[in-house]
């Protein structure tokens, strides 16, 4: 007896329908979390600012194009006052959005890539590979990685030269991206490994092995899709953390003065002694932006975590 031939078209329609249904269920569950929804709205606003900052406040002001008076409090011309060079703080803060978000995004991609790679290989291959990879992971977990980032960044900067460019992005920023990625993948790797370990035991992975799929194919086609929910939730949380780390590194003086992120603006405020002079308008706008964005990422991340991994919730 042969199976009735199913038309190609109806298979595709069925698959599409299931996928749409899954998306709808996900959207409904996520929408029932008001904190997550607020987070998404905040992030959307900042994304728009990051994509087209010039639309709102004109081009980024530099020491030569600044027009305002030095350290002026908020006025009608400069809604959030000016810095010591006469640059408009609103202008700096909104342009800082793009730099902070882009560095955060790139650093997150590096972190998640490394973490997922190590986690999946370690969990699926197991044995001695797992032992070695997890030793390294634990080492990075124990290490004060921020301090490691602090000494790695200047070493790499001195090696490659601070003023070169790479695909139009200044190398100083890329160094920060790499340093954040290299020092913060470990917890992602741990989380993904634990899920990979349990996915590996499922029947369909065994079947794939029986019909002769290689380990690379199984990890790519079977393990990865099944740890994707963790990867997504973790990405959002890591994104917030990366922005926080970038801010701190820039504040300490490892940022790029020519591409001011929020941390870099605060660094400039610190060196200008803004707080001692009572120039609160210099400090408050970038600080508020940092807190809003990181908070939004945390809210969205934990809402996603609840919706996508109801049983596997990671204790933070």
């Amino acid at each position: 007896m042969t199976a009735p031939a199913v038309p190609e078209q109806s298979v595709r329609n069925e698959r599409l329908r299931l996928r749409l249904q899954a998306i709808r269920t996900f959207a409904r569950r996520f929408a029932s979390r008001p904190d997550g929804v607020i987070g998404v709205i905040v992030l959307l606003v900042f994304t728009v600012l990051a994509i087209a900052p010039s639309l709102f406040v004109g081009d980024l002001q530099t020491a030569t194009t600044a027009t305002g008076p030095s350290l002026s409090p908020p006025t009608a011309a400069n809604l959030l006052g000016t810095d010591e060079l006469g640059r408009d703080i609103l202008n700096l803060t909104i342009h800082g959005t793009r730099i902070s978000m882009v560095i955060g995004l790139l650093a997150t991609i590096v972190t998640i890539f490394l973490g997922a790679l190590v986690g999946i290989i370690s969990g699926y291959v197991g044995g001695r590979v797992d032992t070695v990879l997890m030793r390294i992971t634990d080492f990075f977990l124990v290490l004060p990685t921020f301090v490691l980032a602090l000494i790695l960044a200047p070493i790499i900067l001195d090696l490659v030269g601070a003023n070169s460019e790479f695909f139009g992005i200044r190398v100083t920023l890329l160094v920060i991206v790499v340093v954040i990625g290299v020092t913060s993948w470990a917890s992602t790797a741990r989380i993904i490994r634990s899920q990979a370990l349990s996915v590996k035991e499922l029947a369909f992975v065994g079947r794939a092995r029986v019909i002769g799929s290689g380990p690379g194919h199984i990890m790519w086609r079977h393990i990865l899709p099944n740890v994707m929910n963790l990867i997504v939730a973790n990405t959002v949380l890591v994104f917030g953390g990366s922005i926080l780390t970038e801010t701190t590194l820039s504040f300490i003086g490892l940022g790029d003065p020519f591409a001011p992120s929020w941390g870099q603006v605060l660094n400039a405020a610190e060196s200008a002694g803004a707080m001692g002079l009572g120039a609160w308008w210099y400090v408050v706008p970038p600080s508020v932006c940092i807190v809003l964005v990181v908070l939004a990422f945390t809210l969205v991340g934990s809402a996603l975590d609840d919706v996508l991994n109801p049983r596997l919730r990671v204790r933070r």
């Binding site: 124990v142 980032a149 000494i151 926080l244 504040f251 490892l254 707080m275 940092i290």
Partner: protein, 324 residues
């Protein structure tokens, strides 16, 4: 069984410290320019002088094993090299001078944060959904999203610059001269107050979130249900059944988080110009004083490893389950 757990943990910590030292050696070799060039700090040194220096420092020997062994020996005996910035002073001396202010600042900040954070977290978890939980959780989340230095800048702006209640920077008033010991102590505490508050506030959010989830988890355990079935009051259940067991994971996670805390809290010292390891880090960064930076990295990472070891041992002592 107990001693095997102890040995495994101690060996693990030693291995980690060894890896940290090796990493430090590798970083030193990665630095721009050859190490001898960096040590001599002068591009115009003649070839002869360079060769002599190389022989004297053992740089003509192969990297592995000779140089590595030399480095390990020197590090083990506490010789971390000489600072570029501080006129060739020994790195160990530079670090020693900055150690105590940091220890005092963090020690006090940690203690405050642990007391208030755990108390707040335990209470919010106990009265889950109540007004304190709602407000506390919100504030904790906001604090969790704030870098330490942002908290510091805001506190500095309000209480030192705005209200003039506390001094803005440093550890002692300069030119405080021949005051009595008591007034000097008071001066010290006045300077300490704001940075300590900043460190504590930065940590309270994390610790209370941690403790809250730990308490909620423990309250769902079977033995708590049993205690409730026996008719114990809810205060009694919290004190004698839930809290002791909820404290365990919280304390361990605090120790594990120490590495992150130290990193972020470095910036608090910068905001308040507190003369500890944090401001030293920034000075060394600006001067690209690699020996000092590596010394700081070594010191901090070994402290964190040891703190983790202590936490593991305490945990193993308190919770027999993890020993097996």
């Amino acid at each position: 069984m107990g001693s095997r757990y102890l040995i495994r943990k101690v060996v693990g910590a030693c291995l980690t410290i060894f890896m940290i030292v090796i990493l430090n050696f590798v970083l030193f070799r990665m630095m721009p320019g050859s190490p001898d060039r960096i040590l001599l700090r002068n591009p115009n040194v003649t070839a002869d002088a360079m060769a002599a220096a190389r022989t004297r420092w053992g740089l003509d020997k192969p990297l592995i094993p000779d140089q590595l062994v030399d480095y390990l020996e020197a590090t083990a005996s506490g010789d971390l090299g000489f600072s570029f910035k501080f006129h060739g002073e020994q790195v160990t001396d530079v670090l020693a001078g900055r150690l105590w202010p940091t220890v005092i600042l963090f020690g006090a900040g940690e203690v405050l944060a642990i007391i208030f954070g755990l108390a707040l977290g335990a209470y919010s978890g106990w009265k889950r959904g109540g007004p304190i939980d709602y407000i506390g959780n919100g504030i904790s989340l906001i604090l969790y999203s704030m870098p330490y230095f942002v908290i510091g800048i805001l506190i500095l702006g309000v209480f030192a610059v705005g209200l003039h209640w506390f001094p803005t920077s440093g550890m002692l008033t300069i030119g405080g001269g021949d005051d009595t010991f008591a007034s000097q102590l008071l001066d010290f505490f006045g300077h300490l107050a704001l940075p300590v508050t900043t460190v504590a506030i930065g940590l309270i959010g994390q610790y209370s979130i941690l403790m809250r989830s730990s308490v909620i988890e423990t309250l769902g355990e079977d033995y708590v249900t049993t205690a409730r079935a026996k008719g114990l009051t809810s205060g009694r259940i919290l004190r004698s059944h839930a809290l002791p067991n909820a404290l365990l994971p919280a304390v361990t996670l605090i120790a594990i988080n120490l590495g992150y805390v130290i990193g972020g809290a470095i910036t608090v010292e910068v905001v308040f110009n507190w003369p500890g390891l944090g401001t030293l880090t920034v000075t060394a960064l600006e001067a690209r004083d690699y020996p000092v930076l590596q010394g700081i990295f070594l010191l901090l990472s070994i402290s964190v490893v040891l703190a983790n070891l202590v936490a593991d041992l305490i945990y193993g002592r308190l919770d027999p389950r993890v020993r097996s």
